[in-house]
């Protein structure tokens, strides 16, 4: 069974979201997603300063097996990206909820977080897909 921290929020498209005290949200892909994709070889994040919209494509991850879009869980401005992933995309496989984070959004509408899934809801969803 894959690891699902209860303090995070999730999307059905297998991203996770961590809301910070300063009103930003950190985004990555779930342990389930990295396991299904296999070894990641490229991570394409949005540019710092660009805007993203909730549930729209914000980047791409490519594994040896396949390419997969990353969706933004909430709307806002990209204030940071994880540059270390450019040279070490495998970090996402090794630590999907920690050093494998992908980008940080300054939220324009924090109420959008309510539209995302709890760990239990996401767990139910991936069990259904299995």
């Amino acid at each position: 069974m894959s690891n699902l921290p209860s303090e995070l929020r999730y999307l059905s498209s297998h991203e996770w979201l961590r809301v910070e005290d300063d009103g930003t949200a950190v985004v990555g892909i779930t342990d389930h997603a990295q396991d299904a994709m296999g070894d990641l070889v490229f991570v394409e994040t949005p540019e710092v300063g660009s805007s993203v919209s909730a549930t729209e494509e914000a980047g791409v991850v490519e594994s040896v097996k396949a390419a997969s879009d990353i969706y933004a869980p909430v709307s806002g401005e990209i204030v940071a990206i994880n540059e270390a992933l450019e040279d070490a995309p495998e970090t996402v496989n090794q630590d999907p909820y920690g050093d494998g984070w992908m980008f940080r959004i300054k939220m324009s509408d924090p109420s959008e977080v309510e539209q995302t899934l709890s760990a239990d809801d996401y767990k139910a969803l991936i069990e259904e897909e299995a």
Binding site: G38, D39, F42, E44, E62, V64, K65, A67, N93
Partner: protein
């Protein structure tokens, strides 16, 4: 649930991720496909390829039969043990399957793909009707491929009694050892062995290889290794819609002697005379992104082709592909990835041999 090889429980014990592969439950990786790939390039890895189909061909008509059945000519196999790669074609000259054939003391041994097993056997039986041959499938044998610069040494430590036989084995030769069969062949671009083992002995052999430091590798690494080595995969790079001449397999068609008729010869001769419209080439993308099967390739004059196999190359650190393109292709092309056209180099495979980049 699919068919299982005799090594299925060993795969589970090594935490394999199992996928369906042509009706078989096979390991795609045991944790990290890239680490498995690198183990084969740098040391030694092993693959369970027991899902492949072994057919023994005996009878006084065996040689004439295979000379008619295959585009390559088994008469080239002058000594027992020598092996040959060939396409098996239909009357249109298109590829039913690709295979390896060994000359044995009693006739020949052929190894064909697993996903094509039923149609291959039906075709081979049908063509056998006019020859004095007996075909016998060998589901009693498993196959383990041990590949990499340290593979042969590792096998010699496990099969100490066969060390001398293995030392004498030339590249693309296979010899029986009791009811085992040891061949110096592979699908990775590295030196190594493919060993056919009775099903009841294969688990123990696998464990001894693990104990000797050989890393278990899944079919994912097998695919990236074979693509770096520029080797075709049946069903992706060629099938029953294309000829060997359009599939970088021209070298496997034995035109001489002219007196030899083989299935598909007339169609290939006509295609050669009229000009072969396509060819299979290598592509290299040195910027970020991964070439994948079915992506569109645009060559000069706006003519189009298609990627047949593409992947990230762990050895090179960027993406490579095989693509079928118009024969007029030059040294550059563009590939459409997510609606963007990216520049790629057109090269002649292989990309990697014996751990090193070899394309120009």
């Amino acid at each position: 649930m699919g068919s299982k090889t005799a090594l299925y429980d060993k795969h589970l014990a090594s935490n394999a991720k199992i996928v369906d592969f042509g009706g078989w439950d096979m390991p795609i990786h045991y944790g990290s496909q890239i680490e498995e790939h690198n183990a084969v390039r740098e040391a030694a890895g092993m693959f369970d390829v027991s899902h492949m189909t072994i057919v023994d061909i005996a009878g006084e008509g065996a040689e004439d039969y295979l000379r008619y059945l295959l585009a390559n000519d088994v008469a080239k196999l002058k000594v027992v043990g020598k092996a040959l790669y060939s396409g098996m074609l239909n009357e249109d000259g298109c590829v039913i399957d690709d295979l390896i054939v060994y000359r044995t003391a009693d006739g020949f041994r052929v190894v064909v793909n697993c996903a094509t097993r039923e149609k291959d056997l039906a075709w081979m039986e049908k063509q056998a009707a006019n020859f004095a041959v007996e075909l016998q499938e060998r589901p009693d044998l498993g196959i383990v491929a041990i590949q990499g610069p340290k593979a042969i040494e590792a096998v010699k430590t496990v099969l100490a009694d066969q060390a001398e036989l293995i030392s004498q084995l030339g590249v693309f030769f296979g010899q029986p050892a009791g009811d085992w069969f040891i061949a110096r062949t592979g699908y990775t671009g590295e030196d190594g062995l493919e060993i056919m083992v009775p099903n009841d002995a294969v688990e123990n052999f696998w464990q001894q290889l693990l104990d000797a430091g050989v890393r278990a590798c899944g079919l994912g690494a097998r695919d990236t290794l074979r693509l770096e080595a520029g080797m075709n995969l049946y069903g992706s790079d060629m099938d029953e819609t294309v000829t060997p001449l359009e599939s970088a397999m021209g070298w496997t068609v034995a035109w001489e002697p002219e007196s030899r008729d083989f299935i598909g010869r007339a169609a290939l001769t006509a295609q050669k005379a009229n000009g072969v419209p396509h060819k299979l080439v290598g592509l290299v993308l040195e910027e970020r992104g991964v070439l994948r099967g079915h992506q569109k390739v645009v060559v000069a004059e706006g003519e189009e082709g298609e990627i047949t196999s593409g992947t990230f190359s762990p050895t090179l650190g960027y993406s490579i592909a095989l693509a079928r393109v118009p024969a007029s292709v030059g040294s550059n092309a563009k590939v459409e990835i997510r609606k963007k056209l990216l520049d790629v180099k057109v090269v002649r495979p292989p990309f990697v041999r014996n751990g090193e980049r070899v394309y120009k």
